[in-house]
Subunit: 258 residues, 2 copies
Amino acid sequence: QTHFIAVANQKGGVGKTTTVINLAASLAAQPRKVLLIDLDPQANATSGLGIEKKPGASVYPCLINGLSLKSKIRRTSVRNLDLLPSEMDLCGAEIELPQLENHLTRLRDLINPIRQSGRYDIILCDCPPSLGILTLNALVAADQVLVPSQCEYFALEGLTMLNRLIGQVRDGGANPSLTTLGIVMTMFNNSTRLSHQVVDEVRKHFGSQVFDAVIPRNTRLAEAPSHGKAAIVYDPNGAGTAAYSVLAEEVVGRLGLN
Amino acid sequence: QTHFIAVANQKGGVGKTTTVINLAASLAAQPRKVLLIDLDPQANATSGLGIEKKPGASVYPCLINGLSLKSKIRRTSVRNLDLLPSEMDLCGAEIELPQLENHLTRLRDLINPIRQSGRYDIILCDCPPSLGILTLNALVAADQVLVPSQCEYFALEGLTMLNRLIGQVRDGGANPSLTTLGIVMTMFNNSTRLSHQVVDEVRKHFGSQVFDAVIPRNTRLAEAPSHGKAAIVYDPNGAGTAAYSVLAEEVVGRLGLN
Ligand SMILES: Nc1ncnc2c1ncn2[C@@H]1O[C@H](COP(=O)(O)OP(=O)(O)OP(=O)(O)O)[C@@H](O)[C@H]1O
Ligand SMILES: Nc1ncnc2c1ncn2[C@@H]1O[C@H](COP(=O)(O)OP(=O)(O)OP(=O)(O)O)[C@@H](O)[C@H]1O
Ligand SMILES: [Mg+2]
Ligand SMILES: [Mg+2]
């Protein structure tokens, strides 16, 4: 069975891409077979893994014309981790997709053959910072949603909005089995009162949905993408890498994988 | 004459809202008469100024039905600073607006009467982290674009994409006089090599477009919104507040205001 996890939050800069790359790399090291889908036109997950952004190489032509995704899958430098890259064309999807038939289920239908092939244990999908058509496609295709959230005030405000949308996708029938896998607190700064206040507030509201693992603010995590590497490769003994390995263990536990 | 400045960057979490709130408050203190438009469905600028998010209170009904914006304008606790608030309904605009006539010029046409009234010296518009229909409306209505950018690798990548879009809006005829007012580097951390590298890289590529003023990473800037206050009120003598006052001086200089 393949688990499809959408990593989403419409609040910008909360650590979606950093979480997707480093969680994927940690899961691949367990080892699990992982596919990372970059559904953000910014293509940060693509460049963060050292893959060149090439026009035509993204899922865009598949979403619009129904072409198979298989030919777009790339190997990365991380063993057991493949990538469906993104590039600029994907920008066009936000305007063009809504005008097509079945515009909400296109990604789901494209992914189904890959799911059935059993080639991957886990699919992780990086979403753009919006609740537009690309994020909606990911929520309809996904089994679960993983929500990274910064330990800051503005990020706190956005969680209710996202939870409401997840409920609408589930209860509205577009994806009746969609659940929230959990909320992971990121960029935690132990020396600021704000970080502690926000984490307490999120745990108060969302209880056990919040992962125990908390990702610290750690410069090496921000440096790694400029070298095209996951932190597990760039800074194998760092605090950021360790936190993502702990998160990977917790994710596997919540998915019921051995 | 009223200057309309769109504060935009599709990269998430780069400090757009923090810049809009604190630049607006610094300009209002000069004093200038300032209108802040919150065009982001997350409504962070609205809550960051202590204004309640009420359904129906945003520009959304005006964009869709052509109602006058005048009735939506709210006073804030900052003298000389008014706000056009946002709320959840604005989410609907991303899907509904593209299906309407003149969907790119709706904000421009709504703003024109306010511009002509001469009531404000400067209009600042906070944009969501995407290049969707709301940001496009702001770019078509604006005279200039102010681009906040974090001192981090992923933010660097997004600048070229945004520059290309600004060029398309100008050269494609939607807004022939649109120019970039400047790029302001935010969340600069003096003790990391990454911050210095990114600032050097941006100055190398974009030269004099980059403001001299650099906004430091400063916790008080992140705390202020949870009190519904601009930093100039919450932390009047802080480094963040000082940096935004310097930026306000530079903005006024570039606009050619006395
Ligand atoms: N734990 C961390 N410690 C330090 N820096 C981090 C951490 N996590 C992410 N960053 C940095 O913070 C910035 C925002 O993170 P990232 O780009 O992953 O967020 P995002 O949610 O994917 O953004 P967007 O909304 O634009 O897609 C990046 O420059 C990233 O390198
Ligand atoms: N100079 C700064 N120092 C410290 N924290 C900052 C600074 N500027 C912004 N922040 C914090 O960083 C986070 C991101 O900033 P902000 O929300 O203003 O960015 P944004 O670009 O408007 O995000 P979005 O893309 O979601 O609209 C917020 O929690 C904010 O409080
Ligand atoms: Mg991202
Ligand atoms: Mg914002």
